[in-house]
């Protein structure tokens, strides 16, 4: 029985995968490809934050900083030291992870609003540092001429190629996240999110779990930042401010807490929404603000989770019916 369900899931996943592979080919519009590339990068960010916010229940309004750390690591390594992009890609995630570890230890004992404020403060400090250390980061104007991502001589130099690169990375990270979530790490995170007291009395080191998940989600942001730098070929501070942090948190909320696919879908949705709003010029940001508020008022549990709960009831009902049949046998 379990095997059959697993096979069914596999079939469903294969359908999604097929759709992802074919989508840009069916619809060969470079603008769409560009959007999908951006959406993929945001999806990696949202996926990482989803582990921290959606599973471990901790607020971070500073994730744009880790994204920026990733982007600047790649930018500096590739333009100043001619490091291959593939190596810089891993170095970016490692740098983001190390910094997350260092600031996570003291910060993560905070909760709620105070954690939100502390992470937000970290993001602001990062921005000031980037703007002011001109010799390293190029200050306000940033760093230009970051090479395309390339692997073993193959350069990802069109949106289409980048699309496959980024969604490939996303897929890999999604698998990683899925494994984490179904393992002890995921269970401990959910436990910490609901009741730290109960978690600590069964022997979970609450601080360690929080820092661990924070580091993983920062590493995801680092990967995303590295890819972003390669795709945009520039890195400048205004891309990594509070508004991006807000956007990522919104992706997780809209996608639904405690859910990995939701934030990815939400990333696509919000990227598309921002692209449409871009057409309204100076009206775009006020409208964006209103849409954020409306989403929060009408879908505080996320669009994904509402559907998800309904699905879960369906499954658990079927599960119960099955169980009953087994008992009768």
């Amino acid at each position: 029985m379990v095997e059959r369900i697993r096979r069914e899931f596999r079939k469903r996943d294969l359908c999604y995968l097929g759709a992802l592979l074919l989508l840009p080919l069916i619809w060969p519009d470079p603008h769409l490809h560009h959007l999908l590339v951006l959406a993929g990068i945001y999806a990696i960010l949202a996926l990482g934050l989803s582990l921290f916010l959606g599973y471990a229940g901790q607020i971070s309004l500073g994730h744009a900083a880790f994204f920026g750390i990733g982007a600047y690591t790649t930018a500096i390594l590739t333009t100043r030291y001619s490091v291959p992009t593939f190596v810089a890609f891993w170095a970016s995630a490692a740098t983001a992870a190390v910094i997350a570890y260092l600031i996570g230890r003291p910060i993560l004992k905070l909760k709620g609003y105070f954690l939100a404020l502390a992470t937000l403060g970290f993001g602001e400090i990062f921005l000031v540092m980037v703007r002011e250390s001109r010799s390293l980061t190029g200050g306000v104007s940033g760093i230009f001429g970051i090479p395309w991502f390339s692997l073993a001589g193959f350069s990802f130099d069109t949106y289409l190629k980048q699309y496959y690169l980024i969604w490939g990375v996303l897929l890999g990270l999604l698998l990683f996240a899925k494994n984490l979530v179904r393992s002890k790490v995921g269970r401990a995170s959910l436990a910490v999110a609901t009741s730290e007291d109960a978690a600590s009395t069964v022997g979970i080191k609450v601080a360690q779990v929080k820092v661990g998940v924070f580091v993983v989600s920062a590493a995801f942001a680092g990967f995303a930042g590295s890819l972003f730098a390669c795709v945009m070929s520039t890195a400048s501070p205004e891309a990594f401010g509070l508004s991006l942090s807000i956007l990522i948190v919104m992706m997780v909320i809209v996608g639904g807490m405690g859910n990995l696919y939701g934030p990815i879908v939400a990333a696509i949705f919000l990227t598309w929404l921002l692209d449409i709003l871009g057409g309204y010029q100076e009206y775009s940001l006020p409208i964006y603000g209103v849409i954020l508020i409306l989403l929060l008022i009408f879908f505080p549990e996320g669009i994904g989770t509402r559907l998800g709960i309904r699905l879960m009831y369906l499954i658990s009902y079927r599960g119960r019916k099955k169980k009953r049949e087994e008992v009768q046998l």
Partner: protein, 255 residues
Amino acid sequence: MPLLAVKKVVKDYEGVRALNGVSLQVEKGVIKGLIGPNGAGKSTMFHLISGMEKPTSGNIAFRGVDIAGKEPHEISGLGMGRTFQTVQTWGNMTAVENVMVGMHRKLIGGILSCGLWLPWIKREEKEVLREAFGMLEFLGLSAKWKWPAFQLSYGEQKILEIGRALATGPELILLDEPAAGLTPQEVQALAEKIQQIRERGTTIFVVEHHMGMVMEIADEIAVLNHGELIAEGRPEAIRDDPRVIRAYLKGTVYA
């Protein structure tokens, strides 16, 4: 050497003395009850023993180790489990996952090995799943192993919480009012379950308002009143102790 020895413990909360020099011991292999009127300091005692709060003075030794001032997860690692007065199961996880969280320390995988789902992690997870399912069978919850915990009844959640504490493999388990809010039938089943847990080799220390149940299952009872220990001994002796009767009559009378 007793399994748990509390010596002259004092706990102050901003001017209010919740516990005033209480000493008591729990021997290995017994079921010990802790009773007393509301506000007597029973829950405070449990919070101190499980490390969720620090005593103002005095010391607490568990298996010969001083645990006053240790973190809850360290105390859990030494072999102590506990439940809470108001259930704290994790509603968004299934029943079996709730128990599996209790086995957290048995799993040695780290973040990378879990994320990569290495073969030995897979084996480890399977093993833990089987063990957790076994625990649910012992508690009589195995039919609902896949239910999210929030869909279980209150009584079932209380049992599940005990299962989660047992899953840590404790020497001593603290039960904070396990019978509160249960139906008479459930209380009866719970009493039997507690005795079975003792037979499996776990020592039990239980705070309870349900006198009938405490008198039935406990080998020894300690009575707290206004933060002081007023009596300790066998259930029959406690029942007839004039100080205990007075303490209860002055406060609310419990069934």
